[in-house]
């Protein structure tokens, strides 16, 4: 019983092998077959392009491009002005072509351990623009580069005391009570 089954299996394997070999054998084709097939494909493709239901796909692609352009034009403009605006000040050496002007601020603050300036040019950030000792025992200085305009600012002494710049006019308005100076860069 078991020998008969093994025989049948071997026979089936041989038949299958021959079938596979026959299927794998290359079939010789007339060289014109490929050309005729390509011609037929082209002939069928042309009507497809002019079918009405393809038009909305083109419109859709155009609409997507237009929407993308609109978003690219509108959103970055808003974000540039509100999310990541360019600060009006650039500290350090002048950039080529920049219209920023060098401005030196100084404050006499003897017996102080640190002085910083906050203003419209540095987002009123106390950590952004520290002054350095001038070396004369009491004067602190900093060099800025500011574009022409009008800037409100004040000094922060030792992180706890506000002092306006006595060498520039005081701001006409004082919304928050602290002494503020105003600097005009022309």
């Amino acid at each position: 019983m078991s020998m008969s089954a093994e025989h049948d299996d071997a026979l089936e394997d041989e038949v299958l092998r021959q079938v596979v070999n026959e299927l794998r054998r290359p079939v010789p084709l007339d060289p014109s077959v490929d050309r005729r097939a390509l011609d037929q494909i082209r002939a069928e493709a042309l009507p497809m392009a002019s079918r009405p239901d393809r038009r909305w796909v083109t419109w859709l692609a155009g609409a997507a491009v237009a929407a993308g352009v609109l978003l690219a034009v509108a959103l970055p403009d808003r974000q540039q002005s509100t999310v990541a605006p360019t600060p009006p000040v650039a500290l350090g050496p002048p950039a080529a072509g920049s219209d920023a002007r060098p401005v030196r601020l100084r404050l006499a603050a003897p017996a102080s351990s640190r002085v910083a300036v906050v203003g419209d040019f540095n987002d009123w950030d106390p950590a952004a623009t520290p002054l350095r000792p001038a070396g004369d025992g009491g004067t602190w200085i900093v060099e800025l580069r500011l574009k022409p305009g009008r800037y409100h600012y004040t000094f922060l002494i030792d992180g706890r005391r506000w002092a306006r710049d006595p060498s520039e006019p005081r701001a006409a308005e004082s919304d928050f009570g602290a002494p503020v100076s105003v600097l005009t860069v022309s």
Binding site: A67, D120, D125, P169, F176
Partner: protein
Amino acid sequence: MPFVRWLALAALLALPAASQAQDTRLTERLDAATATRVQQVVDSAQAGGLPGEPLVQKALEGATLGASDDRIVAAVQSLHGQLRRAREALGGGASDPELTAAAGALRAGLEPSALRRLQSLRPDQPLVVPIAVLTDLVAEGVPPADATRSVLDLARDGRPDDEFVALRRQLQQRGAGGEPMGRPALRPAADPPVDQ
């Protein structure tokens, strides 16, 4: 109408991104509610063609100086109103720095007619420095009519910015020397100071 549906979808996708665009400087330095209120003023200003940056700086100034939230919003709203008045005085062709300087001048108590007169005397030159000097003079105690007369005289003569600054320095020196700031005119007046 797939085309319309796609456009609606694009609009829906764009709307949340636009409505959530807030200045990160405000959100980092102010509490969420105050940042939103300030951002609304900034957006309104920009929609009206006014600069938003001075408003952001005013809010940041308040935050750094420890002002209350309501005071910050009130100061920003007030500046927005001054910028609007400045634009009404100078017209749509004024630059952002000119509008900012003019807003300060109006805040200091100067009349819009003074700004218009100055603009008419310097039609092709920046107005930032003359307006700033005018404001500074008033802030230092010169009566607005006298300050206006002095600055308009310089403008009428076609003087450069440096001479406006020199005028202010002259006044500062007088103040430092103990002379009264409220004296009549720094320069002889040739014409009435402003159009009435």
